[in-house]
């Protein structure tokens, strides 16, 4: 009799576990990068899985280079990831093909949810009134500099009242060649990466699109923009250049490597370089971008895919990954800045003097043109083409910018 009862109990237990398993909703999530020992997202997912009997989150971390292709394959299969990460540059692209699901309905229904995210960052993920994206990581751009190089050439460190003229004058002093004419050091990195280049123009009060991001005419091709673009491109052209060109970087390495090795005095970059400089033992500093300090804010965010069969469960996961607990973990184990204002205030005390420029730059961060409206991405693309053409003197700056405006019009017509 005892054996029979035990058997029935075991069977009941098995049936219950099978039923429980059957009811469990699986949410597949992906982002790019590498899983490190203390990965914030992984820790959060483990905790989430432990706390939720009805939802199981399965993470798939894809190396950066193959991420775009993996995402495409996943989407095209029609049964891919439930939640995916995207860089802000692709926000419009995915919305354009109806890939992310608007979470407005879930946000409205969820009366218990408290949004702890900084308002500006929260709005970053809002396109046309629909909340598609939830920022996980963000970076303002600021000026990184090598203090030893400044000391070597007797130049004062950058300050918040620097204009671009001050910065370029300092860069010229620190651009030095040896007796054979080989560059020993470059003063400034006038890189072709459009975010850094556009930060230069934005901090000079210029823009490639109008305020509500509906037009480029008179902005992308304005005489002021033409002059500034020509000046910026000239920084890295010819024998008297003050910035390394692409070929120099092939020789000396990336801008961060050059800065660490004392081959470069200043570059515009984001907080992702903080760990590189710290780990290398480089005597570096940060400052707000010269001029009016406006800089492009880079971000990555999570979104729920429209292929997700259980968006309610995905919403629970999104809340966990965009909440302040996960933000605190990210800040603790990576260079990421926390998305909540309260945590950011806490962080300021221990962020280190050398990194204060990063935090100060937050006050001047602006949304990249690609995020401000539909015309933004075509405008950035046309700017990229114009920049390259000017680098290789493929026309006058005025002609090239007129072509850029035409290119935007063509793209918009498509």
């Amino acid at each position: 009799m005892k054996k029979l009862v035990l058997l029935v109990l075991c069977l009941a237990l098995v049936c219950m576990s099978v039923l429980a398993c059957a009811e469990k909703t699986t949410i597949r999530i992906t982002w790019w990068g590498e899983v490190s020992a203390n990965d914030a997202e992984m820790q959060m997912i483990e905790k989430f899985n432990a706390e939720h009997d009805d939802i199981e989150v399965i993470a798939d971390v894809v190396p950066g280079d193959g991420y775009g292709d993996r995402l495409l394959t996943s989407f095209s299969s029609g049964d891919g990831y439930d939640i995916f990460a995207s860089g802000e540059g692709d926000f419009y692209k995915w919305v354009g093909v109806n890939m992310p699901l608007s979470m407005n309905e879930f946000i409205a229904k969820d009366t218990e949810w408290v949004n702890e995210m900084n308002t500006a960052l929260y709005n970053f993920g809002n396109i046309g009134g629909e909340q598609y994206y939830f920022v996980r990581d963000y970076n303002p751009l600021c000026l990184f500099y090598n203090k030893d190089v400044f000391d070597k050439y007797g130049v004062e460190y950058p300050t918040a009242d620097w204009t671009w003229d001050d910065a370029i004058a300092a860069a010229k002093k620190m651009t030095v060649k040896d007796e054979k004419g080989n560059y020993e050091c470059f003063g400034f990195n006038a890189q072709s990466w459009e975010y850094a280049a556009l930060t230069y123009f934005t901090s000079k009060g210029l823009d490639i699109v109008n305020e509500d991001c509906t037009a480029v005419e008179g902005y992308l091709n304005s005489p002021e923009m033409a002059a500034a673009l020509q000046e910026y491109v000239n920084f890295s052209i010819g024998e008297d250049r003050i910035s390394p060109d692409a070929a120099d970087q092939d020789t000396f390495g990336s801008a961060s490597a050059m800065l660490i090795n004392g081959k470069l005095a200043m570059t515009i970059s984001g907080a992702w370089d903080k760990a590189t400089f710290e780990n290398s033992g480089c005597n570096y500093g940060t400052a707000v971008v010269p001029g009016n300090h406006a800089n492009y804010l880079c971000a990555s965010a999570f979104a729920v895919s429209k292929n997700c069969k259980n968006p309610a469960a995905a919403w629970e996961v999104i809340k966990a990954l965009s909440g302040s607990e996960c933000a605190a973990l990210r800040a603790q184990y990576t260079a990421a800045l926390p998305t909540s204002d309260a945590l950011l205030e806490e962080m300021k005390a221990n962020y280190g003097e050398a990194n204060m420029g990063i935090l100060e730059s937050l006050n001047y961060a602006v949304q990249p043109a690609g995020l401000r409206g539909k015309i933004g991405n075509p405008a950035v693309g046309a700017f990229r083409t114009a920049f390259e053409r000017l680098q290789f003197a493929d026309g006058t700056v005025e002609e090239i910018l007129e072509d850029a405006v035409a290119e935007v019009a063509e793209k918009m017509a498509e």
């Binding site: 495409l72 029609g78 109806n98 060109d245 692409a246 092939d250 390259e388 053409r389 290789f392």
Partner: protein
């Protein structure tokens, strides 16, 4: 009756053999249909449609010949064609002549010849990505080539960062991978009868005459094979440009297949990219057929080898 039974038995043996034959080639047949013929038919259908790949098959929209008319008005299409044709025109003869010359050197009877053959063949088995990385350094501003030129008092360009030289840099790099072509030429050269050379020498033919009157005609079938393969391969050039230059600078290495890739996977225009693929298919088909047709004029083939 016995005759009919024998015939029936023979038929059933033949049928059984056919079944076995089909069973043996079935994996290949399945592969051919699943991974070649059906995707080809699908891409042909897509070339008349608009589709972004991510939104599922239900969003495929038929738009007639719009993709083709757009392509013929697209400046970048012509740029990609120009780059690809320039590459083909220069690289095909350059690689064929170089690999034939090396094969002739490696066909000589000298000591350590097997080692030399190995050395010349080795680079071609290095993965393309690794080769590309090595050559990006070699072709750099301070790279090996420019260091060599410096010794001659010449200031070399940053090969891959200059629009005028980037394509030539890639062509130069291609010499690294001619091992396969060279081996085929070598086998062709080894198939030429020694008696022909001996007879020619007795008749007083010099080295040039022996090369043009004996070697070239006798290996013309090998040349034909290598040229056809080179035409197809050159029009499909992609990996090195994708890894090393991404089509730049200033679209100077925007190969046709790279442009197709950008349209398909960066801009998500699958219909447009499929139309581009079919145009390339027709171009390759045309030049391959042209080579085959022209072979009657320059390929020496015995009655067994008629093309």
């Amino acid at each position: 009756m016995a005759k009919a039974a024998a015939k029936h038995r023979a038929d059933s043996i033949e049928a059984r053999q056919n079944r076995y034959g089909y069973a043996f080639i079935m994996p290949w047949l399945i592969g051919l249909f699943a991974f070649t013929l059906i995707p080809m038919a699908f891409s042909l259908m897509l070339s008349f449609c608009k589709w972004d790949i991510v939104t599922g098959l239900s969003t495929i929209e038929f738009i007639g010949t719009k993709n083709y008319t757009k392509i013929f008005a697209d400046k970048k299409f012509y740029k990609a064609l120009e780059v690809t044709f320039r590459f083909c025109l220069i690289s095909i003869p350059f690689y064929q002549i170089t690999s034939l010359l090396i094969a002739m050197l490696l066909n000589m009877r000298i000591k350590f010849m097997r080692t030399f053959r190995l050395i010349f063949f080795l680079p071609s088995i290095i993965p393309t990505i690794a080769t590309s990385m090595i050559w990006a350094q070699i072709l750099g501003k301070e790279g090996l080539i420019n260091q060599g030129l410096k010794l001659l008092g010449i200031k070399g360009p940053a090969w891959l960062n200059t629009p005028k030289t980037a394509l030539y840099g890639l062509i130069l790099m291609g010499v690294w991978g001619i091992g396969n072509t060279m081996i085929i030429y070598l086998s062709g050269l080894q198939g030429v009868s020694e008696e022909l050379y001996e007879a020619a020498e007795i008749d007083g033919a010099n080295a040039f005459q022996r090369f043009f009157k004996i070697t070239l005609p006798m290996i013309s079938m090998t040349i034909f094979f290598n040229v056809v393969m080179a035409i197809i391969g050159s029009f499909q050039y992609f990996t090195q440009a994708f890894v090393m230059t991404e089509g730049g600078p200033l679209n100077s290495t925007l190969f046709y297949n790279l442009y197709l890739y950008v349209k398909a996977y960066k801009e998500l225009k699958m219909g447009y990219a499929s139309a581009l693929a079919w145009i390339m298919f027709i171009i390759i088909m045309f030049f391959t057929m042209l080579t085959i047709k022209s072979s009657a004029l320059w390929v020496y083939a015995s009655s067994d080898d008629k093309i």
